[in-house]
């Protein structure tokens, strides 16, 4: 798995570089996210702009990260493509996660303030 992290205005931006977030990658992705949360990161933007396909294992790992935060922080998602947005819409995860066009848009939102 290849992820790149950066920091902006108190947000940790986690950018997945693999074209697929699938069953092959999901376990490593899940541990990496758990690691960030265990380090006390409470405002994370998951940048999926380079990901073409997310399967149910990948989605499960993203949901696991959100649950791991236990309501004490924000996990927003940026850069979904048409192909990955389909999965979020079908599973109604577009109502669970805050979705942004870009990581910059996500950072511009005030931490902890839900956007409509």
């Amino acid at each position: 798995m290849h992820i790149e992290t950066s920091e902006r205005n108190g947000y940790l931006i986690v950018a997945v570089q693999n074209p697929r977030l699938d069953a092959r990658i999901a376990p490593d992705f899940k541990s990496a996210m758990s690691g960030f949360i265990a380090q006390g990161r409470r405002h994370i933007v998951l940048d999926l702009s380079r990901v073409n396909l997310i399967d149910s294992s990948g989605l499960g790992a993203i949901v696991a990260a959100l649950k791991h935060m236990n309501g004490a922080g924000t996990l927003s998602i940026s850069g979904l493509r048409d192909s990955t947005l389909t999965l979020f819409r079908l599973t109604r995860m577009d109502r669970v996660f805050e979705l942004f066009e870009s990581a910059d848009d996500a950072v511009a939102a005030t931490p902890g303030t839900p956007q409509s």
């Binding site: 697929r20 699938d22 069953a23 092959r24 073409n52 396909l53 399967d55 149910s56 294992s57 989605l59 499960g60 790992a61 949901v63 696991a64 959100l66 649950k67 236990n70 309501g71 048409d82 192909s83 389909t86 999965l87 079908l90 599973t91 109604r92 995860m93 109502r95 669970v96």
Partner: protein, 157 residues
Amino acid sequence: MSRIELKIASTPEQVALASRCIVALCRGIVAAEHVHEIELAACEALNNAVEHAYRMRLDGIIVVEWEVDSHGLNIRVHDWGESLPAECLDRALPDIDPADLDSLPEGGYGLGLLNALMDRVDYRTGEDGRNTLSLFRRFEPAPGPRQDAGMPGPGDR
């Protein structure tokens, strides 16, 4: 009719390769904006064989049949592992409550996704122990200059 068979081992790497092959086969046959839906469905059907039929064993054999006829696209995933309970096939996507984080499922989306993405999903186990998960997606009518039931185009007024 066009038809091809792919034989792979039950590993996540081979699943990724096979679903990429299916994407390549579908280009030009399935409308471009729907190819990713077929890729996701194929990936879920293959994951099902890896995770449920072979329980993550890496030495199982999976055969994928890809077939196009005048009605649509058929993808059949064959395995020789454990069979799915019949009731699993009717599974819909979990009904989630966005306000209740604890209740969000971390799994169990696969078969619901297949049912949502494909026009028909069927599963059967043969006498030889071969399980077959069949997916069918109907071809949408090609967009023409006039569609009887469609919205009027600029030339229709």
